[in-house]
C-alpha cells in the first residue's frame, strides 16, 4: 500500500513539474508579448508584420517542432530591427534545452561558492575564510578557531566581502571593514565565504567606480570535449548602484573574441544606452583589456575541470594588478536572451545542441 502511495507521489511530483514547466513557458511568452509592445512603443516602429510573423513561425516550426515558440523570436526581431534565422527563443532555451545541457543534479555544485577555490584553484578568489557546517576553515579547509578568525580579521584591517552560499544576483553579499565583522551575525545553518575586497583594474574602475564591473564569459563544452567561447560581455553599474548586475539596473557591452568592445551599451530590455557611461562619460570603445585572452583561456580551462555541464557563465573580475579572477560561476541559469538578441545568434550552426537527451 505504501509503495502504491509512493508511486502516486512520484507520479504527482512529475505531473506537478510538468505543469510548472508548461506554465512557466506560457508565462514567459506573455512576458515576451509585453516586452515587444514596450519595444514597439519606444522605437515608434513595428518590424514584425504579418509576412515577418509567418517567416518566424515557419522557422520555429522547422527548427523547434512547434510554431508556438514565435513570441520571443518576434521580440528579438523588434529589438534587432530584423529577423535573423539561427536565434534560440528564450522559452526553448530555458525550459527545454538548458536542462538537457546542464542536468540539474550537476548544477548544485555551482551554487556552492565555498567550494570554488577547491575546484578551480587560484583562478577563484582565494577566500580569507569559509564558514561551512558552522565552522570556520581556511582556504585549504583547515579548521580555524573562532577567536583566531576574529583576531586575523581585526589584524587584516581592510575591506572584506561576506557572501552567503546560496545568494544570487549580488544578494546576500555584505561589504564591511574587517574590524566590523561580528561572528554572531552569521547564521550557523548557512555556509558563507569571506573574501578580500577586490580593487579592480584601473580601466574598469574608471568606467564606474561604485561597482565591481565583471565580465560574463560564457563557455560551451562541445560534444567532442573541446570548449568554445560563446560570448563575452562586460557588465557595469550605473548611477549609485553598488552592483553590476543587469537585473539590478546594470548595463552591458559586448566584446568580440579578439577583445574589441562594441561602441554602444545596452540595458536589460536591449535598448541602446549610448556610447559613453552615463555617469563617468567613459567611452566604451576605448576600453582595452590587455589580459582579455588570458581571461578566456582561464575560463576554458576551468570548464574542462567540470565537464558535467555544457554551458557555464563565468563572472570574472580583473584585479588591480591585472589578474583575471573568478567571482562566481553559473551552471543553473547562465543567462541568455538579451545577449542572443543583440549579438547573436550564437547557436545558428550548432545543430548538436538539439540532440541532447534527458536523464530519465
Amino acid at each position: 500500500m505504501i509503495k502504491t502511495i509512493a508511486d502516486k507521489y512520484f507520479r504527482f511530483v512529475i505531473v506537478l513539474k510538468k505543469l510548472i514547466k508548461i506554465f512557466s513557458i506560457k508565462n514567459s511568452r506573455i512576458l515576451a508579448h509585453k516586452y515587444r509592445k514596450q519595444v514597439i512603443r519606444k522605437n515608434k516602429r513595428k518590424v514584425v508584420n504579418q509576412y515577418v510573423k509567418r517567416i518566424i513561425k515557419e522557422y520555429s516550426k522547422h527548427r523547434f517542432g512547434k510554431k508556438t515558440y514565435w513570441p520571443y523570436l518576434a521580440l528579438y526581431t523588434e529589438i534587432r530591427g530584423e529577423f535573423i534565422k539561427g536565434w534560440l527563443p528564450y522559452d526553448y532555451f530555458r525550459y527545454i534545452l538548458l536542462p538537457r545541457m546542464n542536468p540539474p543534479e550537476f548544477c548544485y555544485i555551482s551554487e556552492q561558492k565555498t567550494f570554488d577555490h577547491r575546484l578551480f584553484g587560484d583562478f577563484a578568489i582565494k577566500p580569507l575564510f569559509v564558514f561551512i557546517s558552522g565552522m570556520f576553515l581556511d582556504a585549504d579547509f583547515k579548521f580555524i578557531d573562532e577567536n583566531k578568525v576574529k583576531k586575523c580579521l581585526s589584524d587584516y584591517d581592510n575591506t572584506i566581502v561576506i557572501k552567503e552560499e546560496t545568494g544570487t544576483k549580488g544578494k546576500q553579499v555584505t561589504i564591511i571593514h574587517s574590524s566590523e565583522f561580528i561572528l554572531d551575525k552569521l547564521n550557523r545553518k548557512i555556509n558563507y565565504i569571506i573574501q578580500p575586497y577586490i580593487k579592480q583594474y584601473k580601466v574598469l574602475e574608471d568606467l564606474h567606480p561604485g561597482s565591481l564591473n565583471t565580465f560574463r564569459v560564457t563557455t560551451f563544452l562541445k560534444t567532442e570535449g573541446s570548449v568554445d567561447i560563446k560570448f563575452v560581455v562586460l557588465r557595469f553599474g550605473v548611477d549609485d548602484s553598488k552592483v553590476d548586475n543587469i537585473s539590478s539596473g546594470g548595463q552591458y557591452i559586448y566584446f568580440d573574441i579578439s577583445g574589441k568592445p562594441t561602441e554602444c551599451a545596452y540595458d536589460i530590455k536591449g535598448f541602446k544606452t549610448g556610447n559613453r557611461h552615463k555617469n563617468t562619460g567613459y567611452v566604451f570603445s576605448k576600453i582595452n583589456i590587455p589580459m582579455f585572452q588570458e581571461m578566456l583561456e582561464k575560463c576554458k580551462d576551468a570548464h574542462k575541470k567540470y565537464p558535467y555541464v555544457r554551458l557555464v557563465g563565468w563572472d570574472v573580475c580583473i584585479t588591480e594588478q591585472g589578474e583575471p579572477k573568478l567571482v562566481e560561476w553559473n551552471a543553473d541559469n547562465p543567462g541568455f536572451w538579451f545577449w542572443e538578441v543583440i549579438y547573436g545568434p550564437f547557436w545558428a550552426n550548432d545543430d548538436q545542441i538539439l540532440e541532447f537527451k534527458y536523464i530519465n
Binding site: T223, S226, P307, I359
Partner: protein
C-alpha cells in the same frame, strides 16, 4: 506574478505530499521493525521486550525524540542486543529527521557522483582507467580521450575491469567484464560512468571469501570543533556464492574496535550472530588482522576534512593485493548502518549530536 503564485501553490502541494510520504515511509520502517523483531525473537527463541521494557523504551523515545511512536526499532535493537540501552537512534528518526539535518541533501548529492571521487580525494580513491562524462571519455586527470584510444588501451590492458554507472546505489548497475569485451557504444550517453581496474583484494580478505570484494565500512563524524571522529568500523563479506558483500544481499559483517581487533563472531543483517567462522571458507574471524588499520582510519578522517559540508560519511574501503587501502565509494546519503548501532552502539548517546 501569476507564475509565482502557481509555483507557490505547487511548491506547497509538493511539500504537503512529501510530508505525507515521509510519514508513510516512517510507518513502513516501523512495520518492518515489528516484522524483523518477530523474526529475531523466533530465531533467538527468547524475548526481552516485556511490558516494563516497552514502557522504558517509549519513555526514552518520548523524552529524547519527542514522540513515543519511535519505539518499534528501539524494541528491535533491544531484542538484537538482549537488553535496552539508552542512546540508540531509531532508524525512522535517523533516516527522516536527523540525517537531512546533518547531511543536507544538496551536499550529500555529490557523494553520488562516482566520477568525481578521484578529483575530490586524489590517490585515496581508486584511480579510474577512464571516466565517461557528458558523452565523452576522459582520463583520470580529465583529459579528453578519443574512443579509439580507449578501445586500444582496454584491448591491451587485457584484464578485468569494473564499469559503474553514476547516480546508482547498492551495487546496482555495476558490471565486471574483461577489458577486451568493453564496448563504448553500450554506455548510454546522458549518463556518466566510471571505468575502474578490478581490484585484486588482499590475500587474507580473499581467503575469508574470494567471490566478493570484501570492504570495510568506516563511518566518520565531523564534530562541531572541526575534528573528525571514527564512529565505527565493520568488515562486510559475501556468503554462499554471492558476488557482493552488501548486507541487503545476504552479506555478513564483523565489527572492529578502535584498536583493530575484530569481534569473535559475525552478524547478519538482523544483527543475529552467525558464528565464529565463515560459513563457506571456515575462516576464523578472530584471526583477521587488517593491514595498516590505523592508517586507513586516518585516511578516512583526512578525506572527510576535504568535504566538510556533511557531518556523517560512510567510507567503503577495499584493500588491494599490495595491502593498500583504496576508496571504492563514499556515502553521505544513508551513511549509517543501524544494526551496527544496535549490536555495538549506542554511538550517538550524547544529546548534542541531535
Amino acid at each position: 506574478m501569476l507564475r509565482d503564485y502557481f509555483e507557490n501553490i505547487c511548491f506547497q502541494a509538493a511539500n504537503l505530499i512529501k510530508d505525507i510520504i515521509m510519514k508513510s515511509s516512517m510507518l513502513r520502517y516501523r512495520s518492518m521493525a515489528h516484522k524483523d523483531r518477530r523474526i529475531v525473537v523466533r530465531k533467538k527463541g527468547t524475548s526481552v521486550v516485556n511490558k516494563q521494557v516497552k514502557r522504558s523504551i517509549k519513555e526514552y523515545a518520548l523524552q529524547r525524540f519527542g514522540s513515543k511512536a519511535y519505539w518499534p526499532s528501539l524494541a528491535l535493537y533491544t531484542e538484537m542486543r538482549g537488553q535496552f540501552i539508552k542512546g540508540w537512534l531509531p532508524i525512522d528518526y535517523e533516516r527522516y529527521i536527523w540525517e537531512p539535518k546533518i547531511n543536507p541533501p544538496v551536499y550529500s548529492n555529490i557523494s553520488e557522483m562516482k566520477t568525481f571521487d578521484f578529483m575530490l580525494f586524489g590517490e585515496f580513491a581508486l584511480k579510474p582507467l577512464f571516466l565517461f562524462i557528458s558523452g565523452n571519455f576522459y582520463s583520470a586527470e580529465l583529459e579528453v580521450m578519443k574512443v579509439s584510444q580507449v578501445k586500444s588501451f582496454l584491448y591491451e590492458y587485457n584484464d578485468l575491469i569494473v564499469v559503474k554507472e553514476e547516480l546508482t546505489m547498492g551495487g546496482k548497475s555495476v558490471r565486471i567484464i574483461h577489458s577486451s569485451d568493453f564496448k563504448p557504444e553500450e554506455l548510454k550517453e546522458p549518463r556518466n560512468y566510471v571505468i575502474q581496474p578490478y581490484v585484486k583484494q588482499f590475500k587474507m580478505l580473499n581467503e575469508l571469501y574470494p567471490e566478493s570484494v570484501n570492504t570495510l565500512r568506516i563511518t566518520t563524524h565531523l564534530k562541531a570543533n572541526g575534528s573528525v571522529g571514527i564512529k565505527f568500523v565493520v568488515l562486510r563479506f559475501g556468503i554462499n556464492g554471492s558476488k557482493v558483500d552488501n548486507l541487503d544481499f545476504g552479506g555478513h559483517y564483523i565489527y572492529f574496535n578502535s584498536e583493530g581487533k575484530p569481534s569473535n563472531t559475525a552478524y547478519d543483517k538482523l544483527g543475529i550472530e552467525v558464528g565464529e567462522r565463515h560459513i563457506n571458507t571456515g575462516y576464523l574471524f578472530s584471526n583477521i588482522r587488517i593491514p595498516k588499520f590505523h592508517k586507513i582510519l586516518d585516511l578516512c578522517k583526512t578525506a572527510h576534512k576535504k568535504f566538510p559540508y556533511v557531518h556523517l560519511i560512510g567510507w567503503d574501503i577495499c584493500i588491494n593485493d599490495l595491502g593498500e587501502p583504496k576508496l571504492l565509494e563514499w556515502n553521505a546519503f544513508r551513511p549509517g548502518i543501524n544494526i551496527v548501532d544496535a549490536n555495538f552502539g549506542p554511538f550517538w548517546a550524547e544529546d548534542d549530536v541531535l
